[in-house]
Amino acid sequence: MDLSEASLRELRDALRSRRVSAQELARFYLDRVAAHNPALNAFITITEAEALAAATAADGRLAAGEEGALLGIPMAHKDIFCTEGVRTTCASRMLEQFTAPYNATVVERLQTAGMVMLGKLNMDEFAMGSSNETSHFGAVRNPWDLQRVPGGSSGGSAAAVAAGLVPAATGTDTGGSIRQPAALCGVTGIKPTYGRVSRYGMIAFASSLDQGGPLAKTAEDCALLLEAMAGHDPRDATSHPEAAGVFASTLDAPLQGLRVGVPEEFFGAGLDPEVAAAVEAGIRVLAAQGAVIKPIHLPNNAHAVSTYYVLAPAEASSNLARFDGVRYTYRAAGVEDLTDLYQRSRYEGFGAEVRRRILIGTYVLSAGYYDAYYLKAQQVRSLIREDFRRAFAQVDVIVGPTTPTAAFALGDKAQDPVAMYLADIYTIAVNLAGIPAMSIPCGLTAGGLPIGMQLMGNYFTDGLLLNVAHRFQQETDWHRQRPALASAKE
C-alpha cells in the first residue's frame, strides 16, 4: 500500500492490524512534508516534536485496544484554528508571533479522537482571498502546476491533501474557502450547515458566514472527519443544539429517485466550457444511478457576490477591531501616541487585502450609509435564502460547478480585487443562506488541471451530500487522480 494514497479507512485498518504504527505514519508524512513543502509552501508551522509525541500516545491507545476511526491518523489544521502552545498566525504579520492560549473546539475534538497534528497550514490572510496570495508567509503553489494558485482561502489545506503531505486537513469556508481550493486542487471538501461545527477558537472573519469543515481525498474520509468535528458546543452561541450527526453509515444509500436540481444561472456566461462539460458529465453519472435531473432557478445568485462584499467586510471590520497593537503581538515601533499606535500597528500588521476589506466594512457601516448598503444587503440575503427554499421544495440536492474556471496562474488576478472576488461566484450564495455544500473532483482540463463539481443541500442534509458524493466516487476515479510531484532533491 502506498501510504500517501491511502484513505482514512485504509490507514485505520493498517493501524489496527499493526501493519504500521502511528509513529511510523507520522514519520512517513513528516518526511513527505520535508521533501515537498519547500516547493508548495503549504505549511506555515511544522510541529514535528509534538506530532511524534501525539503519535506515541496514539500507539499507546491502540495497544490498549481502542478503536476510534481516526486514532493515530496524521492531519494538519488551517492556521486559523487556535492551537494551545503552538503559533497560530492566521497567515498575518499581525499574529506572526501569536501563541494561542487555548485550543479551538475543532482542535480539541480531533485531538480527543486521537488524530496526530503535523502542523499549521498556510491560507489567505485572515481567510480573505481566493488564491492564497494574500498570505504574509507567501503564496501556496498548486501541486498540479506550481505556477498556478491552489485557490483560497484554505489553499494550504487543499494543496497539502492533494500532494499527499497529509491524509486530511481542516479548513474554513466563509464564501467558498473550502470548496474553491478543493476544486482547484482536485480534493474533496465539505462546508457543513452553519452551526454544525463550533467556531470557538476559530479566528473570526465574518461570524454569520464562517464555518469549519474537512478536506480529504474522498467523501467517505470527509464523513469520518465531520462526525468527529461536528457537535453542539456551549462555548459558541451559534452552535446548533443538533449539530452532531452520523454521516458514514448512510454513504451507500442508493440514489434511485433522488431529485437533482441544476440551476441554469450556474451555466451562463463566464463559465469555462471545459468546466461546464465536466460538470455536465458528472450530472449524467448521477442520472445513470437513477437520479432525476430537473432544471431549477436561483435568480438572486447574480447578487450574491455584491451582497457578500457588503456583509462580510462589515462583519470583518468589527471582528478585526480587536487587533489594536495592544493585546495581540504586533505593535508598530516608535509611535507618538495611542492613536498613532493603533493606526500604524494596523497599517503595518495587516496586508493590503485585509485593509481593503476593513475599509469597505467600515464605510458601509458608517453614518449615512448603513441603510443604503448594510440593510439593503441583508434584505437581498433574505431573497437569496428564499431562492434556495423554493428550490429545495422541488429537489433534494442542487448540482453545479464549484468554480468558473480551473486553477488560474499566480499573479493573474492579484491586482484586480473584483476579478478575484468573482472566482467565488458559485460558492458565496451557500454561505449567505447557511446551507451545506461540498466540492468533489469531476474531471481534468486538457491541460491536466482538476475540475470540481459542487453539491448543495438543504439545512442539515450534510449526510445526504456526502452520500451523493460517495456514490459518485464509487462510479468515477477523478478523486484518485494525483499530481506528479517533482522530488525536492531534483
Binding site: 451559534t238 457588503v310 495581540y328 433574505s382 472576488y421
Partner: protein, 95 residues
C-alpha cells in the same frame, strides 16, 4: 463617485488604519471599483423584504447564571507586546 481621496482618508481614520498619503489614490480606485460592484444591489427590488442577519432562526442560548472565572490572566496576556504588573502598557494618554 463614492470613494474619492477624502472618503478614503475619512474611512481609514474611522478604521484606525494610517494609510500613507502616497497610497490613497490607488486604494481609492480599488474601493471605488468594489463599490461599483456593490451598487448593483440598489436595483434589486426589496420592498417589504425583511433583513437576514443570520442563517439560523435560533434563540439566544442562555447558560445558568453561575460565575466561571478561572484566573488565566497571565496566559491570556502572554501575547501582548508590552505588559507590566498584569496591565497592558500603552503610550502616555494623560499629560
Amino acid at each position: 463617485m463614492a470613494f474619492d481621496a477624502e472618503a478614503v482618508i475619512r474611512t481609514a481614520h474611522l478604521a484606525r488604519i494610517s494609510l500613507p498619503t502616497a497610497e490613497v489614490p490607488a486604494v481609492a480606485e480599488q474601493l471605488e471599483r468594489i463599490m461599483e460592484m456593490v451598487e448593483a444591489l440598489r436595483n434589486v427590488p426589496t420592498g417589504g423584504v425583511g433583513g437576514m442577519a443570520h442563517p439560523l432562526d435560533l434563540e439566544q442560548p442562555l447558560r445558568p447564571d453561575i460565575a466561571q472565572n478561572p484566573d488565566r490572566r497571565e496566559a491570556l496576556m502572554q501575547n501582548a507586546p508590552a505588559v507590566r504588573d498584569g496591565l497592558f502598557l500603552v503610550p502616555k494618554v494623560i499629560e
